[in-house]
Point group: C2
Chain length 164, copies 2
């Protein structure tokens, strides 16, 4: 199963692709989609929609994993982040990708083992879990963490739903 | 010039179409796109994207007018509203529609004459300005108000930019 993890941001959106079979989760690719500060918001949204579309088209993931967000630092940043996240969910749904959402605490729990973890801890554990000593950017590591979370929780969820 | 006004909402998005020539602004159409509460957010976003796409396709407006939003009541509602607004801006940009954004105070100023106006005052003045005694819904009236604002301010803006 190929999982696309996405960490949406108003300036930088991280993505990470992993392949999961049995008990093994393998790193495939990751990176960041950057949106130039000076661009109009609508142009940024077209850009992220196109780049995400190309990612999905080129890699054909089986599903997507993204953090649920319940709050943000303030209403203004929540609004801009919402614009980006809305376009991402739209593109995933339009391309028929099943979307799995996990609360941030659950992602940290799955990757670091505790609900409260620093950014560095997340990066470190993503490197270890994927056996990939790459200097991941924060957003990239968060996207991979979302993908890993789904890889780890998916079998449990399926068993609970009687599919396993 | 045919103007599409949009009032984005997490549950109901209003739209309004007006035709503006010289000093006259004529009502063409208006309505609401409703998103069923029980739907998943991603499915709601696909729905609004499709309905807005059909509206643009069927009516071929020359430009779009939408309220700028700087804040919302709280971060959670800002986040959801942001998702919807992001998808709307994306669809407008993808279909090549020039997007004009006006602060809410400026819209009320243009339609009611004062920056602070009740919902009923907006509905009432939209009826008068468009010479259309229709029982407009709030979101519909707000969308028409955005379109009227652009109709009224557009010639001034063009003159200021030396195009008039």
């Amino acid at each position: 199963m190929k999982i696309l993890g996405i960490d949406p941001g108003s300036r930088v959106t991280g993505y990470g692709l992993v392949e999961h079979h049995g008990n093994s989760t393998r790193y495939l690719d990751s990176g960041c989609i950057r949106l130039p500060d000076k661009w109009k918001l609508a142009d940024k949204l077209v850009q992220i929609s196109n780049e995400l579309g190309a990612l999905i088209e080129n890699n054909r993931p089986d599903c997507a994993s993204i953090e649920q967000i319940f709050f943000a630092h303030n209403a203004r940043s929540a609004l801009i982040l919402g614009h980006v996240r809305g376009v991402i969910l739209l593109k995933m749904a339009e391309t028929g990708l099943p979307i799995h959402e996990y609360p941030p605490l659950q992602v940290k729990q799955a990757v670091v083992g505790v609900g409260r973890a620093t950014k560095d801890q997340v990066i470190h554990m993503v490197q270890i879990l994927l056996n990939k000593r790459q200097d991941f950017k924060e957003d990239e590591a968060d996207a991979l963490a979302s993908a890993i979370t789904h890889a780890h929780l998916h079998p449990t969820l399926e068993r609970m739903q009687g599919k396993g």
